[in-house]
Structures are given as C-alpha cells and as structure tokens.
C-alpha cells in the first residue's frame, strides 16, 4: 500500500522519523518496504502489507500506529480513539439486511443539502500522490477516509433510492437468477445467483456489488443534493468469492476480504460526516446501524516465561509492560502473568502466539541471540531412496556420465494440469526419456565446445503415472565416432547394468532401452535391497568452483599442431596460445601427442568464444596467425 509521508506527519508531527530512518524501522519491526519515492513535496512509501495485517494496516492511521509503537511516541490525533456520539436515527431512511451472516454490520449516514463539486486542493493532492483520481468532493471524502482509517465507504444519491412510506430504502440481499449490474465505471456484470448486493429495496435496482463496487444507478453526480453514506462490514469469504468470480479487485474488496474490525464503521462515518460538512456543506439527518452481534475484543493470557520460551529472549515483567504500552494494548498482570486485550482494530490477533509476535516485533528480533540446538534426541534415520540414489550417482559418474536435471512439466503425460502456464508445460512427465533426448540433442550441438565425442548423461527424477509417482533412472548415450551406433548403445547399457548391479549389491538390474535412453524404475529396485544402516562418504569434497556465465554468442573451433623440442610440456604450449588469444580462447583439448626424432608434436582443438559478440573469421585468422608466429618464434618450435 502506498503511504504518504506528509499524511503520516498529521499523526506524528515532528517526532516522525525521516523517510530513510522509517524505512529501516518499518523493515525491522513491521513490514517490507517495496519502494520509497519523492512525489512533489511528499514522499511516497510503498509498504508490502501481507494478509495478516491487511485488516488494520491498509490505512495511514494503521501505519502511523505501528510507527508510534516502534518509536514509542503517542499519536497526536487518533480517529479510532475519539468518543462516538449516540446514534441519532434517520427518520427517512430504512435499511434491511436479509442475512446477518453475510452482512455483519451496516451503518449509514443520511446527509441532505450537500453541494457536489470539485474537492479542495489539499484533498486532491492527498489522493493524487497515492495514484488515485479525484472524482468530486463527496466521493473523494469517502476515499480519503478509507485510506485514512481502512474502512471502505460508499456514497449513494439518496434521491435515486426508492421510497416507501416516506422513507428511502436500502436492502442488502443475495442476487436472484439473472441479475445484472452496471458499475460506476460503465462496465456491465452478469451476477451469478447468491452474489451479495446492495439494492434499492423498493424497486429492483441494484445499487452495488456489496463490498466491491458501486453501481451506476445511484451514482453521486453534480445534481445530487442528498446522500446516504454506507459503512458496512461483510463476510470476508463472500466478498472474496465474488471478487474472484467477477475478476474485480478493488480497494474495498481488498480490505473487506481481510476482515477489518466491524467497530470501524461508525468511526469512519464520524470522520466522513465531518469532512463532508467542511467541504460540501449539508445537514446530517441522522443514520442507521444494523449491528446484531457485537464483535468482542480479543483477550488472552500470556506469561513472561511463554514469551521468552517462544522467542528465546530474556525479558522481564517491566520489559513486557513497556512494550504493551507502546502497542496501546490494555492488560492486567500479577507479576509475570498477563491478560492482554488488543484494541478493537487489531482483528488479526487471535491466539497467544499472535500476542507474543507483537511483543517480539517491538522488542526487536535483532536482540535475539543465536543459540545452537541441544544435542539430538535420537540418531537420524537413513533415507533409503537417497542412500541408493547416491550409490547410483557415484557409479555412473565414475563411468564418465554427468548428471542432468530436466523439466518435470512437459507437453504430454497422464497427469495433466487444469491451469497450465503453457501448452508445452501442461502435464507431468511419464518418463525421463524426452527430457534426456532433448538434453542429448542440446549437448550434441555443443560437443566440440565440451570436447566430447560421446555424450553420456543420466538423470534421477520423479515420473508420474496414473496412480503413483516414482523415481526413475534414465541414462542417455550419444556417440559420434562409433560406426555401429546401435551396437555401441546396447554394449554401453549392458555394461552399465553390471556396473549398477555391483554398485547396488543387487543381482537383478534390468532396464528397458528406448532409442538412446536406458530407463529403470529405481523404487521397484530399491524395494529388493536391504535397509541401509549409515550414509557413506562416496564423493570427495567438491573442488572450489569458479563459475563462468555461459556466453550467448556462438563458439568457433580451430585446430593447431606444433613440433616442440624434447622436454616441452603441454602447459608450455597452452601458456603461449592463451597469451596470444586473450580471453577469447576459452578451452583447449589436446587430441594428439607423439614423439619423433627427439621432438614432440602436440595437437589441440581450440575453442574460441566471446562474452559480448560473435567472433568473425577475420578476427580468428588474425589470432591464429599471431599465435602461429609466436609459436614458430620459439627456439626449435614449428607449427605443422
């Protein structure tokens, strides 16, 4: 939610920390900050309010209250702590609520004789810095109050409401089959049966989709003189369902679906009445308040020891007392035993741990000292699947196979997704075959880069059939040299079966061969194997890796062979070649070496690649020529 720094200043005055400091304080005691941006004279802080605090903190007052607790400064003003006057019932307004489980509270104010017009500059600015459009003084006043204290409001043109026995009438009911609404933005929505609506109880006009969006019928226009302001509290589940069904997410629905306190309604009306009176005139003719079940504040017992035992802190009674005061929670305590009551607007707090979190946040998680776990209560069990998978990995890697991970989501399978991201990721794989085949193809293209004449890969991954998911081993082989390709593959896999049998201590390893891929159900195989008693150390500590980003540009190949005097090492030749080609020579593979007449011949495949461009033939010719010259310049060296 976007928060205006100047608006917060109304609440905290000069004790409001600078935006920079606020960022830090809010981050470490309350919420993540998405961004901070200067907008004109103001600074807009975008705060990520998650569902647990959307009930009270999607409001400037809520954020100011958080800051107040963090910096231990009382709010200068607090609209939620003002006293509410007794309700004066409006003579000419009637509200009927069909189902009090869906509409838990419906408060309203009837104001006559307002003058609808543009908002004053200060109000326009308040809304515009938040990215809101100013509509007119009445609508702006309702929005202002929502952004101020978190209660969505809606204004109706009272004269558009049907009249019965001299009373304007509002009804809250669920929709019947086939009802339609045109919302304020001009869009038409077909409403499915059971959608909660605000209606004109006399006529059949739909005035709004409850808690989501107002309708065109009773829109406040420049002709409007009498208005009804709605401040309601709806069932969050009903609002959420309708909002999702109609794909209508509004500032109102966002708040209602997170269950703000039902106590807010009359505080909001008090605020909006005062504001409208100042900026649009009019006379308050009273209001209504349907509120069958009073929402009780949440109270819970918590001990100092419970706080410390959950947080790992060492607070004492007076620490807790100080924090509860900062939070504006009321409490009673006998030494370490507290009974805490949250203020009504904190409808997010339910259980003991919620209260402990509040204490912990204000105390500061930074002050928690890291502590090691006590000695393990028992020896961990050995994961059989992982144990044998490790043996398989070790055996195959020793045979020159590298392990790949390929995509689980694919274009075809038995288990399909109801809501896939893309057609080629619409199902779960039934086998590793396709993934490995793709991987073989990809690596075939890069074989020269990799210096390989055979691609040898394997994967251990989950595959999905109708009833079960199981671990499969897939091995892929592709050779460019062998003339008898099929025979090569068969021989390779026959050998591997023996390798696996030995590695697993099993006498029955038989997979199936499908083109270039060997597949084996590992889970079935593991069932036949004994329970392991301890993990083994099969792999050496991995060497320190200096990872190099893959260049998106193509690589180029060149070969070179050179005669060198006796005693010359491979490294000596490589050093010169590297020096003459800068960063562009990224790999070299010695493919031939022989000695004759007191000389040694070295022959290399050279791989050139740039990280920022495609290398041209001309560029490479220059490098090769320079390299050749320098090699020839060594005493007794000769490029062949």
């Amino acid at each position: 939610m976007k928060v205006s720094y100047l608006w917060l200043k109304d609440y905290l005055g000069e004790s409001l920390p600078t935006p920079k400091l606020l960022e830090e304080l809010i981050t470490f005691h309350a919420f993540e900050i998405e961004s901070i941006e200067q907008v004109g004279e103001d600074t807009i802080i975008d705060i990520d309010i998650l569902p647990n605090r959307s009930s009270d903190c999607l409001s400037h007052r809520g954020i100011a209250k958080e800051i107040s607790a963090i910096i231990d400064q009382k709010l200068l003003v607090d609209p939620l702590r003002k006293s509410l006057p007794a309700l004066s019932l409006a003579d000419d307004l009637l509200v009927t609520v069909e189902d009090p489980t869906l509409c838990t509270r419906y408060s309203s104010s009837f104001i006559a004789g307002v003058k609808v017009g543009p908002s004053p500059q200060w109000l326009k600015e308040r809304l515009e810095v938040l990215g809101q459009r100013s509509i007119n003084n009445i609508v702006d006043a309702t929005n202002y109050v929502m952004f101020n204290i978190g209660q969505p409001l809606h204004a109706f043109d009272a004269q558009k409401l049907g009249e019965k026995n001299g009373k304007r009438h509002i009804g809250v009911r669920t929709s019947r089959e086939g009802e339609v609404i045109t919302t304020l933005d001009g869009a038409t929505h077909n409403l499915s049966k059971g959608t909660l609506l605000i209606t004109d109880a006399v006529g059949s006009n739909v005035l709004g989709i409850a808690g989501i969006k107002g309708g065109k019928h009773a829109e406040v226009t420049t002709e409007t003189t009498d208005i009804v302001i709605e401040a309601a509290h709806f069932n969050p589940v009903a609002i959420r369902r309708t909002s999702r069904e109609l794909k209508l997410r509004t500032d109102a629905s966002l708040r209602f679906e997170n269950r703000p306190s039902s106590h807010l309604t009359r505080f909001a009306l008090q605020e909006v009445e005062e504001l409208i009176s100042t900026i649009a005139g009019g006379v308050l003719k009273g209001g209504t308040d349907f509120y069958p079940t009073l929402e009780e504040p949440v109270t819970g017992p918590v001990t100092v020891s419970e706080i410390n035992t959950l947080l790992g802190t060492e607070m004492v009674e007076k620490d807790v007392v100080a924090i509860l005061k900062r939070l504006d929670f009321t409490y009673t305590n006998r030494r370490d035993n507290f009974t805490i009551t949250a203020p009504f607007e904190r409808s997010d707090l339910h259980i003991k741990e919620d209260f402990i979190e509040e204490v912990g946040r204000i105390y500061g998680y930074k002050k928690i000292t890291a502590q090691n776990l006590p000695l393990p209560p028992e020896k961990p069990r050995i994961n059989k699947r992982f144990y044998y998978s490790e043996r398989i990995r070790r055996a195959l890697i020793e045979q020159g196979f590298s392990e790949v991970y390929t995509y689980t989501l694919c274009d075809e399978g038995i288990v399909e997704l109801a809501n896939p991201l893309a057609a080629d990721k619409s199902a779960l794989r039934v086998s590793l075959k396709n993934g490995l085949t793709e991987s073989l193809k990809l690596n075939e293209k890069n074989a020269a880069f990799l210096g390989l004449d055979t691609i040898k890969i394997f994967e251990l991954g989950m595959v999905f059939t109708k009833e079960e998911e199981s671990l499969e081993l897939g091995i892929g082989v592709l050779s460019f040299n062998s003339k008898k390709k099929q025979e090569f593959i068969k021989d390779t896999f026959d050998d591997l079966e023996k390798v696996l049998m030995q590695a697993l201590g099993s006498n029955g390893v038989s997979g199936k061969i499908n083109d270039n891929v060997f597949l084996l159900n590992v889970d079935d195989l593991i069932k036949t194997l004994p329970e392991p008693v301890a993990y083994e150390s099969l792999f050496e500590e991995p060497q320190k890796v200096t990872y190099k980003t893959l260049s998106p540009y193509p690589f180029a190949l060149r070969d070179i062979a050179v005669w060198t005097p006796e005693g010359t090492r491979e490294d000596d030749v490589v050093a010169i070649m590297s020096q003459e080609s800068g960063d562009l020579l990224i790999k070299n593979f010695l493919f031939d070496k022989f000695e004759k007449d007191g000389r040694i011949s070295y022959a290399f495949h050279l791989v050139f690649q740039s990280s920022d461009r495609t290398l041209t033939d001309d560029e490479l010719s220059v490098i090769m020529e320079r390299m050749t010259n320098v090699l020839n310049g060594q005493n007794g060296w000769e490029v062949r």
Partner: protein, 237 residues
C-alpha cells in the same frame, strides 16, 4: 581457462547441494524425509493454516491437477511437515529437499518448477533463538564462511511468529544482506492438525529455494540453467 576433460562425469549442482545439506543436517540430528509432489489441498494448504477462501491462499500461485478434485502440485515442501508428524512421534528434526511448483511466469530468477529445502524442529523448549543458531550453523558450513543471519517480521500462515531471514553475504564486491528464506515458529494450528499437543511441544520451520542457495554460492545469474540438462553448465561443477 579450463583444464582438459577428465574421465569422470559431473554431479549436478543440485545433487551436490542436497548431499552437502544432508551431511550438515545429519550431524545436527535431522532425518532426510520426502513426500508426494502431487498433493491434496488438505496437506498443501488446509493443515498448514491456510484456510479455503482466505487471502493467504493467493500468496502462492497454484497448479491444479486436471480431473482430480482438490489436488495440486505442491507449492512448497511444507506439506511434508504434517505428513511426517502424523506418522511419527515427537520430537522431530527433519529436512525435506524436494521439488515444488508455482504457477508463475519464468525468468532468470523465477521458475515454475524448482527445488525447496524444508526444515522442521519440534521439541520441548525450542525457540526462535535456536532457529537463528541452526541457520547460522547451516549457512556457515554450506558457504564455508562465518555467516550471520538476521530476522525481519514476515508472514507465512503456518508459522507464528513468522520471520524473513537475511544472511550477510561476503563477496569480492563487499558485504551485503541477502533476503534468503522464510521461517518462523510452527503455528499451533499446524501442530494440532498433526495431533501434536502445542502446549507441550513447539518448534521452528524454514523453507528455502535450493537453486537460490546454490546461485549465491557460485554467482549463477540464471536459475533456468539448473533444469535444461546443459553440460556447459553442469560440467563446471
């Protein structure tokens, strides 16, 4: 420049990481546990204190399985928490490395399919301080460096309090705090769902993206490389 090839193949960096992680946590008394990838909404959400029709469900974009009601691809490895607790007696110390899925567009730092590492400790008197200590031990061993972590308030429905965990990462470019995972104290509703008495037992849980852990270690910029089967990538490890 790279040395010429050796005759041995290469272990995938995810497998290497799981191996190292299991070594570290085994020594701290954690059992390596797994669970199904095709999961019920019951285990993926309900028992984790993410009720139906609650806005918290929107925090994770979910793939649903066609033709099977209330069945999803697990959006995290957390369902295994309750599955394990249901069929074992406390205390618990488990890690769950495994695949999870989120229905979100793919880019260099997001994948619809990824690996997550879950950790769960439940016992008498386990605190947030133990979480901090355990994570510092883990990171320091995994990154072979002396690593500090810090907590910020966070929200995950299955923990209370919930924290965001940052670690102080040192590299050639200097020190900086990296947002690394979500964690917290196991929510009493989760323990109750698993028939563990929350008045007697409490504990912590954490969940971290494995590809992210590895990427930080090696400076990998594009997490998609983990799943393409590209030996130009894998053979570097």
């Amino acid at each position: 420049m790279e040395k010429k090839r050796e005759s041995w193949g290469h272990s995938h960096p995810i497998s290497q990481a799981i191996r190292e992680i299991n070594d570290i946590f085994y020594n701290l008394g954690f059992t390596f546990v797994e669970g199904p990838i095709i999961e019920s909404e019951h285990y993926n959400f309900d028992v984790l204190n993410v009720p139906r029709d609650h806005p918290a469900r929107d925090m994770q974009d979910t793939f649903f399985v066609k033709g099977r009601p209330e069945t999803v691809l697990r959006t995290h490895t957390s369902p295994v928490q309750v599955r394990y607790m249901e069929s074992n007696k406390p205390p618990y110390r488990i890690i769950v490395p495994g695949r999870a899925f989120r229905n979100e567009a793919t880019d260099a730092s997001h994948e619809a399919q990824f690996f997550q590492l879950e950790g769960l400790v439940v016992d008498k008197g386990i605190t947030l301080a133990h979480l901090k200590g355990t994570l510092e031990q883990f990171f320091s061993t995994f990154y072979k460096d002396d690593i500090t972590v810090r907590f910020r308030p966070g929200y995950f429905p299955f923990v209370e309090p919930g924290v965001e965990v940052d670690m102080l990462h040192k590299s050639a470019r200097g020190e900086r705090w990296l947002e690394i995972m979500g964690a917290g104290m196991v929510h009493p509703h989760v323990l109750e769902a698993a028939h563990v008495n929350p008045d007697e037992y409490q504990g912590f849980a954490f969940g971290v993206g494995l590809e992210r852990l590895i990427s930080i270690k090696y400076g990998i910029e594009d997490i998609r490389l983990f799943h393409t089967g590209d030996l130009r990538f894998i053979n570097q490890f």
